[in-house]
Symmetry: C2
Subunit: 375 residues, 2 copies
Amino acid sequence: MSKPIHAIIPAGGAGTRLWPLSRRTYPKFLLDLTGQGMTLIQGTVDRLDAVSQSITVVTGTAHVAAVADQLPSVDRDNILAEPLPRDSMAAIGLAAAVIAHRYGRDAVVGSFAADQTISHVPAFHNAVEQAAALAREGWVVTIGIEATGPSTAFGYIQCGDNLGVEGAPDGCKVNGFTEKPDAETAATYLAQGNYRWNAGMFVVRAGVLLEHLAITKPELAAGIETIAAAWDTSEREEVLASIWPGLEKIAIDHAIAEPVAANGGVAVVPANLGWEDVGGFDALHELLCVTDEDSAKGAKVLRATNAATNAHIIAADSDDALIATSTDRAVALLGVPGIVVVDTSDALLVTTPERAQDVKGIVDYLKTTPSESLT
Amino acid sequence: MSKPIHAIIPAGGAGTRLWPLSRRTYPKFLLDLTGQGMTLIQGTVDRLDAVSQSITVVTGTAHVAAVADQLPSVDRDNILAEPLPRDSMAAIGLAAAVIAHRYGRDAVVGSFAADQTISHVPAFHNAVEQAAALAREGWVVTIGIEATGPSTAFGYIQCGDNLGVEGAPDGCKVNGFTEKPDAETAATYLAQGNYRWNAGMFVVRAGVLLEHLAITKPELAAGIETIAAAWDTSEREEVLASIWPGLEKIAIDHAIAEPVAANGGVAVVPANLGWEDVGGFDALHELLCVTDEDSAKGAKVLRATNAATNAHIIAADSDDALIATSTDRAVALLGVPGIVVVDTSDALLVTTPERAQDVKGIVDYLKTTPSESLT
């Protein structure tokens, strides 16, 4: 049996809450945040390979070279450069339309962000197979991440009745999507048991996606189709330059998932994937295991670059501290359990997991100063 | 009236507890730890200038160039280089013997460490004047620092009866010196009121010092006198190389102060100097005032080098944190009140004032590793 999907990897976002490791010029998907010798985007490709006939990456012009460098197995023609960020609908829609031109409108596409981690890979492959089975039947399909706590950082998917589609035993109808809830609402969702986290994973026939978009956002759909038609021709740059900047900036959730769900057209495959979006140093702290390095016993150590491989890291009486470094400098922690220290060549951050989400505020502040280049 | 003393400044010690700011190769007396635009040794010279006919520095061979560079007002002939560290008696004794050769044995010498700070300079000058008056009468004189708490980090001086010497209204006899006490004993000293901290400040006629040494440590005295006799001749290097390495390593407290006090020959001038030895980041934290930099309000900032002048330092919800930096890197603290962050080009330390004294343990550990060069 052939591989079920054509993978789309939108690689955008600065990963602001992971500053100073993650920068606009070198965002988090280019970093090895798991300490396993693979960057997030390399891990994403590695995971998708077994279920994908092709892999298409959509990223900003500034990151094309780094992406190509990190992904030697991905054909250079399959790395689509966005001249400007136009949010997820334009990025995923363009990739889907290019795939439709190359492989036909019945091709099933699956979109998965470049900066997430999944520890249960066989469960992920199984979920993709089921999602593709539903997609072939015409559904817009999402994968519903098991909610492991009452998180207020994610949107939720309300799962309805099982759809009984062959090849998708877990596939259910989606009753609706919700925005990020407050803590009380999140606790209610968790207690009810039929709510899942929305990780922005979508599987759908390329033609179905574009038809839905033609109804919900006809101008955006037309623009994307025009660019895609020119993509594999000598007119690509000219058409892209004239149309792309005028495309509406909208997330795929708002353009497709929510309105189609309201009409009963979205399905979900619930799955327990060991999923992390690594959105901040709190998530990174959760993700990493305590080091077995003698000099840093009890702490968590992330060497995010090759340069950091030989950095001497010492943690004394600093259990559960997180040291993330991209430099070869020595880092010594003494009597600071649970602290978060992030060391880079031009900026240093010291905070705690509890304040990790507020790192964005530091970056926002820096953008107003002469140190803007540090963001 | 002529200036009362010939100043001796022993500039030794690595300042291990101020690692990574202070290094064997660049010890704390070469650093501006007060943030007032002067290094500790520059401050020491500046303070002594008004009361000193001459200033002699004794330092390790490795530091002579940096000392000369920082002290353009000190004659190069007055910077004595120790080929090897031989503790304070040899260093101060050699300087005293050289001064005796240059100015006569009746010259009053005063020895003051290169790495202390004093905020009440007029009180210091007054104490030196009184100490010199006592020294001219033949006393070995120390200056007794007001004990502002039951510190276990310093030795104590027990003050006895006022000596009634003209020009030294505060001068008392020393009943004895004590080693660093335990906390309970220190509290007793503080309660009794007649105990003072020993900051290693000694004022004495050069000839008196050398005579006492000839009795307590005759070989050491003879060695020092031989080297001093050759100092201003072409034989300096040869004599130094042959004798210095064999000199006994002993502190002036043990070689002179304690035995002479036991025979009733030591006086003390009690004085309230606003004195700090800046022994660790806890003392540095005490010493520094909260910054008036907008982006770091509530924190204490030390820019220890010129390179650090323009470092962007941000402290949010981090009151009373100490950021000491010798680099131009940005440092951002978020939600870490009271923390100590020390940033240098090749090593970073994160700790708390409570653990500041244990920094020595990190340095001791590093010395056993391939990162020994970082100490």
